[in-house]
């Protein structure tokens, strides 16, 4: 006779494991993360205790699971130029959703969730990245969150391809930290695994900013992992439409090379171009960084950023932990 999984005790590898959270119950896990950041550049010298967050997730039944995350961004900051500090302890809902796993071809997700576009947005927190900064592409070209419905899974026609379709037709569940405030957003993503080392993907969609115009986006990405090397390439084009104004375009592309020269040590180089015709901006950014992880959930990073406008050049260091 078959038993339910809950009737078996989980072996004791520890109820708490750093980076895997506290398993309060077989079906319920608690965790969180924080990051600290130090930046120094022209007229800039700042320390920030950023991204203080708690998350909880678990299974409500065999096919239904949930995740909840609250976060305070800019929890504490100190500006050494003006000798002033600031605090923001009010948390906001970062994610709050339930999943219904119907099959490997269709999982339904309802609630506030990360928009499944590209690589950076799916791992948006400092500790999971290999550079403290993320490309502007992942911060400014599409809404980072969807409050609505997503369906995802393997495509029935070919299991090397995964898809996501997402739809939002309301305001954000908690708009405190959203990068673009929208009341409508829909799109899809496809991701094809070409080999164990190489995958490619792309997304297309449209969003409408509250009290502003609408934007269509088209994005492509490619990731190559082989031994100690990882190469990322990603590009996106946005077409913006607003009443009484001509259609304008913004675009961004970056490539990043990562070399893990010893276990837990990596060097990273990234080149990025960002163009926004709405404000006649053309920015070019180069990043050279070093990452050290005494354990994977603990990250120490240092990077130097070169900007086309050299006044924005800066040195950035960070310490972050996923617990």
């Amino acid at each position: 006779m078959s038993l339910l999984i809950g009737q078996f005790a989980q072996a004791q590898e520890g109820d708490y494991q750093l980076g895997l959270g506290y398993k309060a119950h077989e079906k319920f896990t608690l965790g969180g993360y924080f990051s600290t950041e130090f930046s120094q550049g022209e007229d800039l010298k700042e320390f920030v205790l950023d991204d203080v967050a708690l998350l909880a997730y678990g299974n409500l039944s065999e096919n239904i699971s949930f995740l909840a995350e609250i976060e305070s961004v800019g929890f504490y900051s100190y500006d050494f130029e003006t000798n002033s500090s600031d605090t923001n302890t009010r948390p906001a809902i970062e994610r709050f959703y339930a999943d219904y796993k119907f099959s490997d071809y269709a999982t339904f997700r309802v609630g506030k969730q990360i928009t499944p576009i590209g690589y950076w947005n799916l791992q948006p927190i400092n500790v999971l990245r290999e550079t403290t900064s993320s490309p502007r592409l992942s911060r400014e070209m599409f809404p980072k969150f969807v409050t609505g419905l997503q369906v995802s899974g393997f495509t029935p026609l070919h299991e090397s391809i995964r898809y996501s379709v997402y739809l939002q037709n309301t305001g954000d569940m908690d708009a405190k930290y959203v990068n673009i405030a929208v009341d409508q957003h829909y799109g899809f993503t496809l991701e094809k695994t070409l080999s164990e080392s190489w995958s490619i993907g792309g997304s297309a969609g449209r969003f409408r900013e509250i009290n502003q115009g609408s934007t269509r986006y088209f994005q492509l990405n490619s990731r190559f992992d082989k031994g100690p090397y990882t190469v990322l390439l990603e590009g996106i084009v946005d077409y913006h439409t607003a009443k009484l104004l001509p259609k304008v375009k913004s675009s961004s592309i970056y490539t990043q090379f990562e070399y893990r020269f010893r276990p837990r040590h990596a060097v990273i180089a990234r080149a990025e171009s960002f163009r926004d015709d709405r404000i006649s901006l053309h920015e070019k950014i180069g990043v050279l960084g070093y990452s050290y992880r005494p354990q994977f959930p603990i990250s120490l990073k240092l990077e130097y950023q070169w900007h086309a406008d050299s006044d924005n050049n800066r040195l950035v260091g960070s310490f972050s932990v996923l617990f």
Partner: protein
């Protein structure tokens, strides 16, 4: 010539590699065989179903030699890479597969829990279990 052929045949049989471990499910499972890629996806929790039924992966403790062999041969990942994978998944709300304290417990779990899938030394497999992949 016959003696030479017999000698070669004996050498081949002596050197032929036989699997030491097996990926197994309950003998009552409808699953007959499974490829390494699908097993990998199940233990990385990229898949949760086989046919119309749910599958429940189970691991022995991380220090168990069987698990280390499984990770190298089927997952094709080192321990650092696996740790990294599950830390990333912790943020996504996906915990690693359940673990059992001994191989005997893994065996009992597979026999008793519907859809359970695990791996054992091949000599532990008896009529209560069904081999769906050898490695």
């Amino acid at each position: 010539m016959r003696i030479l052929l017999a000698y070669v045949s004996l050498l081949v049989s002596l050197t032929a590699h036989s699997a030491d471990y097996a990926v197994v499910m309950s003998s009552t499972s409808a699953v007959q065989t499974m490829g390494a890629d699908k097993i990998r996806d199940i233990f990385l929790k990229k898949r949760s179903f086989e046919g119309s039924g749910r599958v429940v992966p189970v691991n022995p403790l991380g220090s168990d030699p069987v698990r280390i062999e499984f990770e190298m041969q089927i997952l094709n990942m080192g321990r650092d890479e696996i740790n990294r994978y599950w830390v990333n998944n912790h943020f996504q709300g996906v915990p690693p597969p359940t673990t059992q304290a001994s191989l005997q417990s893994v065996k009992r779990f597979i026999e008793s829990v519907e859809g359970a899938i695990g791996y054992l030394p091949i000599e532990m497999v008896d009529s209560n279990l069904k081999i769906i992949h050898e490695f």
